[in-house]
C-alpha cells in the first residue's frame, strides 16, 4: 500500500486512532444498506408508472435515470475513498469494502443503463442507435459503463492471483477513466445548471489529488531509502504472493 509519508500533517491524528476490529455485523449491514437505493427506485418507479403516486415526481422515468446515475457516482466515491481512509486509520479490514463498493458501483451502473434501455427507450433499437450515433453524451456514458466491465470481471481473489498484483493494479487504474467519462456524461446531459456535476467533480478531484500526493511521496521515499532496503523490498515483491491490499 502506498504509504502516506511518515511525518505528514495527519500523522499525529493517525497515531491517535485506535486499532479497531470490524464488528461482525458490519459487512451484512453495508451490503443491505447499499441495496436500499435500488429497492427504493424500483418500488417508486413501478408505483409511479402503474399507479398514481409521484414518488419520483411528474416525470418518473427521467428522475429514475438521474437517481441511478447519481448513486453510481456516489458508490464510485465510496470505492475510491477506501484507500485514503485506510491510510488515515490503518484499518486493514477496510479493504474488502473497496470491492463491495466497487461492485455496487457496477451494479448501479447496470441499473442506470437498464433504466435507459428498457424503461426509457423500451428496447427500441433504432432510437437507441440514433441516440448513440448522434448524441455524444450517450456514447460517453456507454463508454464509462463498458470500462467498468473488466473491473467487475476481475474483482475476484483468483483474478488478482492470476494477473499478479502489479498488473491487476494497473488494470484497475481504469476506474479513473470511468470517473472522467462519467462526469462528462453527467455534465453533458444537464440543460444548463452544472452545479451538481461540478460538485461531484470537486469530490473526485480531491480523491485524485490525495492519490497523486501519496504516490509522489512514496516515490520520493523510495529514492531516498538505502539500496539494500530497496533490493530487499524488490525481492519481497517478486517472490511473495500478491496480497489483497498491496500496491493500490
Amino acid at each position: 500500500m502506498h504509504e502516506a509519508p511518515a511525518r505528514w500533517w495527519g500523522a499525529r491524528l493517525r497515531d491517535r486512532i485506535p486499532s479497531v476490529r470490524a464488528p461482525r455485523w458490519l459487512a451484512p449491514a453495508v451490503f443491505t444498506a447499499s441495496l436500499v437505493p435500488f429497492a427504493y427506485v424500483v418500488y417508486a418507479l413501478y408505483s409511479d408508472i402503474i399507479g398514481t403516486t409521484r414518488f419520483l415526481g411528474s416525470n418518473p422515468i427521467t428522475e429514475a435515470e438521474h437517481f441511478t446515475g447519481e448513486w453510481t457516482l456516489r458508490f464510485l466515491i465510496f470505492t475510491l475513498a477506501i484507500t485514503p481512509l485506510r491510510q488515515l486509520t490503518r484499518w486493514g479490514w477496510l479493504i474488502r469494502y473497496r470491492r463491495t463498493f466497487g461492485l455496487f458501483t457496477f451494479f448501479y451502473a447496470m441499473v442506470h443503463w437498464s433504466t435507459y434501455l428498457g424503461v426509457d427507450m423500451v428496447f427500441d433499437l433504432h432510437d437507441i442507435l440514433h441516440d448513440l450515433a448522434k448524441h455524444p453524451y450517450i456514447m460517453v456514458g456507454m463508454g464509462a459503463f463498458l470500462l467498468l466491465v473488466p473491473l467487475a470481471a476481475t474483482s475476484t481473489k483468483s483474478s488478482i492471483r492470476s494477473l499478479g498484483g502489479k498488473r491487476w493494479n494497473r488494470l484497475h487504474q481504469l476506474v479513473w477513466a470511468t470517473v472522467t467519462l462519467g462526469l462528462i456524461h453527467f455534465a453533458w446531459g444537464v440543460k444548463k445548471d452544472i452545479e451538481d456535476p461540478l460538485l461531484f467533480g470537486a469530490i473526485f478531484g480531491g480523491l485524485a489529488a490525495w492519490r497523486g500526493w501519496t504516490w509522489v511521496s512514496e516515490r520520493r521515499a523510495r529514492t531516498v531509502a538505502s539500496v539494500p532496503a530497496a533490493v530487499e523490498r524488490e525481492r519481497g515483491q517478486r517472490v511473495g504472493a500478491p496480497q489483497l491490499g498491496t500496491g493500490d
Binding site: 408508472i49 415526481g57 411528474s58 416525470n59 426509457d120 441516440d131 448524441h135 446531459g189 444548463k192 445548471d193
Partner: protein, 316 residues
C-alpha cells in the same frame, strides 16, 4: 379513402359561458384535479370541429387516447422557471410568497400608445377564454394544458404599433429578493423573449392569466404570461412586466445563453435535433411510452404559412 388526421385540439375553443361555468363547478367539485371531463376536439378545425367545443360537465367524456389533459398537480409542480431555482420542484416550493399585486405592465417602444398599466387595467378590455393547448418543452417532455387567456393580437391592435415595428419583446420581472434563482448566473437576468410581429398576431399566441379555470399559480408565471403553443416552452415569457415593440430582432435569453442550442424561432420540429438530444420524440407527462413529436407541435395547419420558404434548420 378516409385520411386519418392526427388528433388535434381546436385552436381557440370558445366555450359558451354556461358550459364554462358548469365545468368550473365540476372542476371545483373534483378539487381541481385533472379529471376534467373536457373533451378535446378532434380533427383539424375544418368541418364540424369548430362547433366541437368543450363538452359541458355532465357528459362523461371519453377522452381520446391522445391529448388527455395533464393533471393540475403535474402542471403546477413540474416547472421550468429558473427565477425560482433550477429543479423542477423549485418553483412550486419557492414561489409561494411571490407578490403579484400590485403589478405593472409597461408597453413601450415603437408603439402609438406607450403606457405603464396596472395589470388589472391592462387586462380589463379582454375576455379570457379557455384554450386547451399542447405544451412542448425543449427538454423533450410535454403536457396538455387548459390555459385561460386571450390573443396577444387583441392587445397589439389596441396599443397600435408603428409601421416600423417588426418584433415584440417581453420581459420578466427582475427581483432577486423574491426570485432566489436570479441570484445565480445560470441565465442572464431578466428573462427576455420575443416574437416576430406576425407570430405575435397569430390567434394561437396568447396572453394567459389562468389555468384550469383558476388564477394562474405563481410557479406558472403569475400574474401574466405568454403561451406560444407551436414553439418550445421557453418561448413563453412568465410574470411579464414589459412589452416592447422594436424594429430589430431582440436578443432572447436562452439564445444568448447557448446560441447553438436555443434559437430565436424555437419552432417545435422533430427533424431538427437539439445538439445533445433528439427532438423526434417526447415524453407526454403521465404516459409510459414516448410519442412522436409533431411538426409545429401539431399546429402546422395553422402556423406553417408563417414560415413559408424559410430554412427551418438554419432558423431553428
Amino acid at each position: 379513402m378516409l385520411i386519418r388526421k392526427p388528433n388535434d385540439i381546436a385552436s381557440s375553443e370558445i366555450t359558451p359561458e354556461s358550459a364554462y361555468l358548469d365545468r368550473r363547478k365540476f372542476l371545483g367539485a373534483l378539487g381541481g384535479m385533472g379529471l376534467a371531463a373536457a373533451r378535446v376536439a378532434a380533427g383539424t378545425g375544418t368541418v364540424g370541429a369548430a362547433g366541437a367545443a368543450l363538452v359541458a360537465c355532465d357528459a362523461e367524456a371519453a377522452e381520446p387516447p391522445e391529448d388527455k389533459l395533464t393533471p393540475y398537480e403535474d402542471i403546477t409542480t413540474y416547472n421550468n422557471f429558473y427565477e425560482f431555482g433550477t429543479d423542477k420542484s423549485d418553483p412550486s416550493e419557492n414561489a409561494t410568497h411571490f407578490v403579484t399585486k400590485p403589478w405593472t405592465v409597461k408597453v413601450d417602444g415603437l408603439v402609438k400608445r406607450p403606457a405603464d398599466w396596472h395589470v388589472e387595467d391592462f387586462l380589463k378590455p379582454y375576455a379570457a377564454q379557455e384554450h386547451v393547448y399542447r405544451h412542448r418543452c425543449v427538454e423533450a417532455w410535454s403536457m396538455v394544458v387548459p390555459w385561460l387567456g386571450f390573443p396577444i393580437a387583441d392587445v397589439i391592435r389596441k396599443v397600435e404599433p408603428l409601421p416600423s415595428a417588426k418584433f415584440v419583446e417581453f420581459t420578466t420581472l427582475y427581483d432577486p429578493k423574491q426570485m432566489p434563482g436570479q441570484r445565480s448566473g445560470v441565465l442572464d437576468w431578466p428573462y427576455v423573449e420575443a416574437l416576430r410581429l406576425d407570430e405575435a398576431m397569430h390567434p394561437l399566441a396568447l396572453f394567459v392569466v389562468g389555468l384550469y379555470g383558476k388564477v394562474l399559480p405563481n410557479q406558472n408565471g403569475a400574474p401574466l404570461r405568454t403561451v406560444i403553443p407551436w414553439k418550445y416552452g421557453f418561448k413563453g415569457c412568465k410574470s411579464i412586466v414589459r412589452m416592447r415593440f422594436t424594429d430589430s430582432q431582440p436578443v432572447t435569453t436562452w439564445n444568448k445563453a447557448v446560441p447553438v442550442e436555443y434559437g430565436f424561432y424555437a419552432n417545435v420540429n422533430p427533424n431538427v435535433d437539439h445538439p445533445r438530444w433528439t427532438q423526434s420524440k417526447e415524453r407526454r407527462i403521465g404516459e409510459f411510452r414516448r410519442r412522436e413529436t409533431l411538426m409545429f407541435n401539431g399546429y402546422a395547419d395553422q402556423v406553417a404559412s408563417l414560415y413559408a420558404g424559410m430554412d427551418l434548420r438554419t432558423n431553428f
